[in-house]
């Protein structure tokens, strides 16, 4: 491609081309959207977590990738608890081949139990969840269908599966289960890919990396920086089939998901409505992968043919966080992937024919995100108006970015985008609370209704820094419903169940999942904002087992448990 006609040297061409497909968003919004109101309740609720990245002079890439968080109810008391993954000690230098260890309590992963008064207590030691290595991601799922949520903690060199004993304690069953894995594991997702009623496990791996002393950056200026992933070879995801006896079989190759990638985020949805859950992997700086589930235990990687692998210019980007939900209420899961500044967050709208349209410019997301770098991301309806908005936590990957690019920042505030009826996103961050004016090196993000008040809250982790509990106190009279699905024939968590709710203003859809975001795991309850509707005409649940369930005339403003019927 040429760009010499723009009258500047050839060196400018790539960046100019990259700016070719910029947004269509008119600055003239029709009406001002409802801002959110998220308040920092971390201290008040008794959370004192701090992620330890263990920075060194060597700038090991592991130091900047952070650790995730999970929101889940481990003791079935109806209140969400919080699990934080944490780093481990890194020596300076760290010898090649080292698997870091948590040799001090400051490196422990932490489990915070929510008490009846809404405050939290640290129960890590009692629960047996301190961990062993450099923990990265976390995934929640009841893999043995015993009614208690289990915990998979991904890590560098070694991951851990904790079985929830149902008495407030967990047992490390990694070895027996056979899911320790290898390499640099990041995000993970529980998904019943073969609809046998048991949750299987898919684990993203970043790349083939070790503690090599590679100098990246400007040596003459003494400005060492984190190395680009292009320097390292890709690594495939790990897919573990749940064999039903507490054991898992690693089936990545047989299932066809062993295509080497640079996975940082994972999300699941049945994007083509064929009844089988598909897997999306957000890859860093190579095409994104969409593993289409063939329904016979195998997958086909269809990122490029589906249009979800590259941006609108056909260019790869640094995929990090991901979510796979229906933002335009048409019943078909869409995709959001966060990436680095100058790339723009990638929004792919499902065209209902197995392909996606790159909707970043047309929805206004391009102009909003051009100068931002995002990690954890979730669609959530923060104001319960019936449209899923976007919550994104941000930070550049390079702590020295400002030196080379003065208009970029390492630390960034989070981003809250209001969904304008599935057509556009509007940045309401500035009016949505002080937290959106604070500069964070954020990484993980989990979403859930922490205080069961009918609005979705957020937990954010930062790299080598604190975590934040952000309670949603948005001023709204809109109604809502939260559906807690319990599978019988299907997996007990009902992960993969597809829900349609019907109210006067239209239908909404959601897929039950704890995965998505970045290295994090969210509340499995499906939350719907209902706007002015105090009654839901119909709720349809399509369970992974194939059972279809209809509920009529359901009252709003409640957390409703729905159990899978026999037929």
């Amino acid at each position: 491609m040429e760009c010499s006609q723009n009258g500047i040297g050839s060196a400018l061409c790539p960046a100019l081309l990259a700016l070719g497909a910029v947004l269509a968003a008119s600055a003239a919004a029709q009406s001002s959207p409802t801002p959110g109101r998220f308040t920092d309740a971390t201290e008040k609720l008794g959370i004192h977590f701090r992620q330890q990245a263990s920075p060194t002079s060597k700038k090991y890439l592991l130091e900047t990738m952070g650790s995730g968080v999970a929101l889940f109810d481990y003791d079935n008391d109806g209140r969400l608890d919080i699990f934080f993954a944490n780093g481990a000690r890194l020596d300076d230098p760290t010898p090649k081949g080292t698997i870091p260890k948590k040799d001090d309590a400051k490196y422990w992963n932490r489990l915070y139990h929510q008490k009846a008064d809404g405050t939290f207590e640290d129960v890590t030691q009692r629960a047996g969840l301190a961990g062993i290595g450099y923990s990265t991601g976390v995934a929640v799922g009841d893999y043995d269908n015993d009614g208690f949520e289990d915990l998979f903690v991904a890590g560098y060199g070694h991951s851990t599966l904790y079985h929830n004993n149902g008495d407030g304690t967990f047992t490390d069953v990694t070895s027996a289960a056979g899911v320790a894995g290898s390499g640099w594991m990041t995000s993970a997702a529980w998904v019943d890919y073969d609809n046998d009623g048991r949750l299987d496990l898919v684990v993203a791996r970043y790349m083939q990396w070790d503690f090599d002393d590679i100098y990246c950056g400007h040596r003459e200026e003494g400005l060492r920086s984190f190395c680009h992933p292009d320097l390292f070879k890709p690594e495939s995801v790990l897919l573990y089939h749940n064999d039903g006896n507490g054991k898992f079989s690693e089936v990545s190759h047989q299932a066809g998901v062993d295509k080497p990638g640079k996975g940082l985020g994972i999300a699941i949805a049945d994007y083509d409505h064929d009844g089988w859950m598909d897997i999306l992997v957000a890859n860093d700086s190579i095409p994104e992968y969409l593993f289409h589930n063939r329904g016979n235990g195998t997958f086909e990687e269809v990122g490029l043919p589906s249009g979800a692998a590259l941006d609108g210019n056909g260019t790869s980007f640094a995929g990090m966080g991901v979510d796979f939900e229906d933002y335009n209420n048409d019943g078909w899961p869409d995709i959001i992937i966060t990436d680095l500044a100058n790339q723009r967050y990638a929004l792919f709208t499902n065209l209902k024919d197995g392909t996606f349209d790159y909707a970043t410019p047309a929805t206004g997301l391009g102009a909003i995100s051009l100068l931002h770098s995002g990690w954890g991301v979730r669609f959530l309806d923060y104001d319960n108006d019936g449209w899923k908005d976007l919550f994104i936590v941000q930070s550049h990957v390079m702590d020295t970015i400002q030196v080379n690019e003065p208009n970029l920042r390492y630390r960034e505030p989070p981003l809250l985008l209001h969904n304008e009826q599935g057509k556009k996103f509007v940045d309401v961050s500035a009016d949505s609370g002080d937290v959106f004016h604070q500069q964070w090196a954020a990484r993980g993000l989990a979403i859930g209704d922490i205080n069961n008040d009918g609005t979705l809250d957020a937990v954010v982790t930062s790299n080598d820094g604190p975590a934040w509990i952000l309670l949603n106190q948005t001023s709204t009279t809109n109604h809502w419903i939260s559906l807690n699905l319990v599978g019988a024939k299907s997996n007990r968590d009902a992960i993969g169940a597809q829900i349609r709710i019907s109210i006067a203003s239209g239908d909404q859809f959601a897929t039950v999942s704890t995965s998505g975001s970045y290295q994090s795991s969210s509340d499995k309850r499906a939350h719907f904002g209902l706007g002015a509707a105090a009654m839901i005409r119909e709720i349809e649940v399509r369970w992974p087992s194939g059972v279809r369930q209809i509920l009529k005339d359901v009252k709003a403003d409640q957390i409703l448990t729905v159990t899978e019927p026999a037929k």
Binding site: M1, L23, A24, G217, D230, I286
Partner: protein, 344 residues
């Protein structure tokens, strides 16, 4: 409007003003006359002969270099200037000029070294600082480029070329407000500057002001219609934005015009094909993308879109082939960038 490749004309003014022939002989006088008359090929040859009469003892090779620069014969100019500097190592003019020549030869590091050498003896002029800035542009160091362009403009605030380049650099830095200010100033000084108007559109587009960007592109096209020079760029920018705004039907005639102006532009065919693809006109889209791929076979983007078009046309094997090519080209690009720019 000037661009980097036309910057020679600015240098020319300096050269002409300094055109005091130093040859003593008849052939040297003749060379000086030809130089003054801007008969560059004749002057270059005459100065070569002049030097033969007294090798290294006159300024003939310096002026030969200048004559060659004005013919855009940069390798020959560099050779002449290097020969001159061998016998006149203290010549600031020759060092500055050789610095400019190295810039034109896409050798920014060598150019910067020469400018640095010359500046130790003689303060650089505004034009020298501008070339230094453009060297930094070629090195992707936009921070330094902006600094030197600002310095150049402090010395010569009316230099629209420097102002234009400052706008471009600010645009590259995603500093759209300063870029807009620069382009608006260029347009204030030269209201018919098509490229400034076009680039103003790019900045407005990047800021999310789509309608204002469309207006700027349309104005640039209108301005261009009054000029003898036709560029596809404003048509391309307008068409791309219309496609992005889901107005592909409007984009098609605009991009068709771009492809007519620049039939060898892979970008024009790619964008026209992209608009056709949006409209689900897969056969016309295929034709455009096949042209784009032929014109720019190493670029992964047209292969990717062509694959998607083949897929829609039911040509599964051809689609698969294009997707494989896409992945391979991206892999090659990443391997290349991983070796060159290793930081995140």
């Amino acid at each position: 409007m000037l661009n980097l490749k036309q910057s020679a004309s600015l240098i020319l003014a300096i050269l002409l003003s300094a055109a005091a022939a130093s040859a003593q002989t008849g052939i040297c006088d003749q060379a000086a006359t030809q130089f003054r008359d801007r008969r560059w090929p004749d002057a270059a040859e005459a100065y070569a002969n002049c030097d033969k009469g007294a090798p290294g003892q006159t300024d003939a090779l310096l002026y030969r270099g200048k004559a060659l620069v004005n013919q855009q014969k940069f390798p020959e100019a560099a050779a002449s200037l290097e020969s001159y500097l061998a016998t006149h190592p203290q010549s600031d003019d020759a060092v500055y000029l050789l610095g400019y020549v190295r810039f034109r030869q896409d050798q920014p590091k060598e150019s910067l070294a020469l400018f640095t050498q010359a500046a130790k003896r003689k303060a650089p002029a505004a034009d020298d600082l501008k070339i230094v800035a453009l060297d930094y542009v070629l090195l992707n160091d936009y921070t330094s480029a902006a600094r030197y362009l600002e310095q150049s403009l402090q010395m010569n605030p009316d230099d629209v070329e420097a102002r234009y380049h400052l706008g471009r650099v600010r645009y590259q830095q995603n500093q759209f407000d300063p870029a807009i200010a620069a382009f608006e100033e260029v347009l204030r000084q030269n209201p018919s500057d098509v490229k400034a108007e076009d680039n103003l559109g790019l900045c407005l587009e990047a800021k999310g002001r789509g309608d204002a960007a469309l207006a700027a592109y349309r104005k640039a096209i209108f301005m261009e219609s009054a000029s003898s020079f036709q560029s596809e760029q404003p048509y391309l920018n307008l068409g791309k934005l219309l496609t992005t705004m889901n107005r592909a039907a409007e984009a098609v005639p605009v991009l068709t015009q771009a492809a007519m102006i620049a039939p060898d532009s892979a970008t024009a065919h790619y964008e026209l094909g992209r608009a056709q693809f949006s409209l689900e006109r897969f056969e016309p889209a295929r034709a455009q993308l096949e042209k784009a791929v032929a014109l720019d076979p190493k670029n992964s983007s047209p292969h990717y879109l062509l694959g998607r078009i083949y897929q829609r046309l039911g040509k599964r094997e051809q689609a698969t082939q294009q997707f494989k090519l896409t992945e391979e080209l991206i892999r090659q690009q990443n391997a290349k960038s991983g070796g060159m720019a290793s930081s995140h």
